[in-house]
């Protein structure tokens, strides 16, 4: 390997580890959620109020992704990766030090922004440094590490919880984020021989120390006769009006002034101002609000029970209005967020459409396979049900690497179409599953093959997008691809749940009354079995829907990604 290739691999490895870690974070809270609810003062019957702990992360992950992608096109990949890691670490610290629901959700949202923002610059980085015909494998590896995160996340969470508290999960996140960021610094474009401004670093650290103390309120200081005064609000009751919090604000103000006046600032405000001029911030905001409203609408629902969140009466109109305004802005702005013609080639927009359907099918597996397991394995816990899903999840990263390697030999359109057809076929088999199906060996094979299909499709879809968009929009278009997949997941689960619930109600309506089945007014085993069968027909309907969605993705991939043979001559 040449030194340049070696540097590219090293950089990509760091970015991939960061992405894997951020992906793990999506799932890490699953185990820690009860403890986090306790810390936020919530009780078990207030589960709905705890939903933002999860949806907050998603919100950050998706809403500002296009903006981050666009920035990475203008400012370069490494500075944006570094910035996202710092943001991720910051969000982790806020979550770890969180003292109520608002601070925890705020921390999770910031974590999501940093974690999601890592993906577009990394995909663009591969396009920058690898020629078209050799991008498959690195794309596959990044996809694999990301999917591996979903397997490792819960295990990592369990390991940390065994020796510490949920706070430690997020302190660990912060430490890893900072460590990777430090390792990335050497890949930054050279800035001459000027040393970083030490006063700026000191001011920023002082702000952090002050505000961290305000959040954690260590009893030793809080109860001190003199030191305690620093924590006492000057007016009102909020701890953010205490002398210590205001001192932190003062240090931050000084830091900002320093950035504006110093010759060698830590953050080059003037350069950022130039960048901001090239970005359609109004368009980015409209898109972010629209996506945010979509997330809140769909993510706060309980997918097994209802389709939409409780506030959908407000959020759906907001999403539609902002989406309309964004389209208007795209047409009228001098430099719109998505530069004109950046997605003009069929495989470019085709890969985004395919990602949407891949996401819609994938979510059915992630939500309804554990649901099926809980329903049919007697006395099964959440954990056992999750273990069934592992059989699916473990095949995803394997498929991702394999797909990356295969894309050197097989055309993108054919590989993606075959992969999604495989997953569709597996869903079709699942739609015939019965009460005892999960105990059979063939169920394991079906689950693994289904995961493998989704994995195989990751690299070729990404490669198709990168091959058919210009270098200077790779960050933005990659972001749109990730957003399409996430939105596909959210809308997919809602649509599939609607179909499933209708099937459940149809089946339940046919069950004979309790009195007839059991001979008395109290419930009996026969009635419970009948209800369980209704539940199974609900999931059969969902799996049928997922199979159709996967076949749609396969067909679209075959037609839309067609002329994207990676081996161009």
């Amino acid at each position: 390997m040449t030194p340049k290739a070696l540097a590219s691999s090293g950089l990509l490895a760091l970015a991939a580890v960061a992405i894997g870690f951020a992906a793990a974070d999506t799932y890490v809270v699953v185990l820690a959620l009860p403890d986090m609810m306790t810390a936020a003062g919530l009780t078990a019957d207030e589960l709905q109020r705890a939903a933002p702990i999860i949806s907050g992360f998603l919100l950050g992950y998706v809403a500002v992704l296009p903006l981050i992608g666009r920035i990475s096109d203008l400012r370069g990949r490494v500075p944006v990766l570094l910035g996202c890691l710092v943001v991720f670490a910051l969000g982790s610290v806020i979550t770890a030090a969180g003292y109520d629901l608002s601070t925890i959700v705020l921390g999770r949202t910031i974590q999501g922004i940093g974690g999601g923002g890592l993906i577009p610059p990394t995909l663009a980085l591969i396009a920058d440094r690898w020629p078209v015909e050799r991008r498959g494998l690195p794309l596959g590896i990044v996809g694999a590490v990301q999917e591996l995160g979903s397997v490792v996340g819960p295990l990592l969470g369990a390991a940390v919880l065994a020796i510490g508290t949920w706070h430690d999960i997020f302190w660990l996140n912060a430490a890893v984020g900072v460590a990777i960021a430090v390792a990335l610094v050497r890949y930054l474009p050279a800035r001459g021989h000027r040393r970083p401004d030490l006063l700026s670093i000191a001011l920023l650290s002082l702000t952090a120390v002050c505000w961290l103390l305000v959040m954690v309120q260590p009893p030793v200081l809080l109860e001190g006769v003199t030191t305690g005064l620093a924590f006492l609000p000057l007016a009102g009751w909020s701890r953010w009006l205490s002398p210590l919090a205001l001192a932190g604000l003062g240090f931050l103000g000084w830091f900002i002034v320093r950035q504006l006046t110093n010759d060698a600032p830590l953050i080059d405000v003037r350069q950022w101002r130039e960048t901001a001029k090239q970005i359609d911030l109004l368009g980015a905001t409209l898109l972010a609000v629209s996506l945010g409203a979509v997330i809140v609408t769909f993510a706060s629902a309980e997918p097994e029970k209802s389709v939409l969140g409780a506030d959908s009466l407000f959020t759906i109109p907001i999403a539609l209005i902002c989406a309309g305004a964004f389209v208007w802005r795209q047409r009228t702005a001098a430099e719109p967020l998505v530069p004109p013609r950046s997605l003009s080639q069929t495989p470019a927009w085709g890969s985004i459409v395919v990602s949407f359907f891949v996401g819609s099918a994938l979510i059915a597996a992630l939500v309804d396979i554990p649901f099926f397991a809980r329903l049919t394995i007697s006395g099964s816990s959440q954990l056992e049900a999750a273990l069934i899903l592992i059989q699916f999840l473990i095949a995803l990263p394997i498929g991702a690497v394999l797909g990356g390697w295969l894309s050197r030999f097989v055309s993108t359109a054919k590989l993606t179409a075959a992969a999604m057809a495989l997953s569709g076929l597996c869903f079709a088999l699942m739609s015939r599953w019965q009460q005892d199906s999960l105990n059979t060996l063939s169920a394991t094979a079906v689950l693994a093959a289904c995961g493998l299909g989704f994995g195989l499709a990751i690299a070729p879809v990404n490669a198709a997008l990168l091959a058919h968009t210009a270098d200077e929009v790779h960050g933005l278009t990659s972001a749109l691809l990730v957003v399409a997949r996430m939105v596909g997941m959210l809308i997919g689960i809602s649509a599939l749940t609607t179909i499933g619930l209708r099937a459940f109600h149809n089946a339940a309506a046919k069950i004979a009354p309790v009195k007839e089945l059991c001979g008395s007014k109290t419930s009996c085993a026969a009635y419970a079995t009948a209800l369980q069968d209704a539940g199974i027909s609900q999931l059969q309907a969902v799996f049928t829907g997922a199979a159709i969605t996967a076949f749609i993705a396969a067909t679209l991939a075959f037609w839309l990604l067609r002329d994207t043979d990676n081996v161009k001559s």
Binding site: T38, L42, T43, A44, D45, E223, V225, G228
Partner: protein
């Protein structure tokens, strides 16, 4: 330089005052102060009572917090949060005549329950009667009590007294506590000698589980409070 001299004077004055406060405390004095504070609680018509901790050791079930009013019948009425199976359950609780009723968020009506099965104490026993004291018994049985300077809580500054409560006293009220171990306690008394709060740290859930710190507050109320079974 006038201002800096004034600051120096102020610091010197503050130091002198603080030192003066510290040197006043001897063992006997601290015990007398505690006895007086316990007496106020024992003679109160009703008490504003709370006990809470931030988190229980991983996997333990037990009491997270209880907050409400109590009298020496003994009876208690208020909000209780308990942890079981890793999740927090909140309930409105009424405890009187040795019975406990709870109304959780899941249920519209009060239901009778056995607190021992939840690993939590009958909250009324924590308050106790005049003859069979609850936590006032912990205060009077404290050994090695000594005044340990001042402590701030918000705008107010309190006298701090540290000491040790024998495990058997704690276990008498909370059966899960290790009777053979000592519990560290920090009291804070206000300028009238009344209890502001007490932090008790020790093996509340047995000696093989991590220590837990409970913060208890008991404020005497001048008017009686009637607490009746639902």
């Amino acid at each position: 330089m006038f201002t800096s001299r004034r600051v120096l004077t102020a610091i010197a004055l503050a130091a002198a005052l603080t030192l003066g406060a510290c040197s006043g405390g001897s063992g006997g004095d601290a015990e007398k102060q505690l006895a007086a504070a316990a007496d106020v609680l024992a003679n109160a018509e009703a008490i504003d009572f709370s006990i809470s901790t931030t988190a229980l050791p991983s996997g333990e079930k037990g009491l997270l917090s209880a907050e409400g009013t109590a009298n020496h019948s003994p009876a208690f009425q208020g909000e209780v949060k308990a942890v079981a199976g890793g999740i927090t359950i909140g309930a409105e609780v009424i405890a009187t005549d040795g019975k406990v009723w709870a109304k959780t968020g899941f249920s519209p009506v009060f239901m009778s329950l056995d607190p021992e099965r939840l690993g939590a104490p009958d909250p009324a026993t924590l308050v106790g009667t005049k003859d069979n004291p609850g936590i006032t018994g912990w205060i009077t049985s404290t050994v090695e009590a000594k005044v340990d300077g001042k402590s701030r809580d918000g705008k107010d500054v309190y006298t701090k007294i540290t000491g040790t409560i024998p495990g058997k006293e704690v276990a008498a009220l909370l059966p899960s506590a290790a009777a053979d171990s000592d519990f560290q306690v920090v009291y804070r008394l206000n300028s009238d000698g009344e209890l502001h709060d007490m932090k008790v740290t020790g093996a509340f859930y047995g000696s093989d589980v991590d220590d837990v710190t409970y913060t208890l507050k008991a404020k005497p109320l001048s008017d009686p409070v009637a607490i009746e079974a639902p």
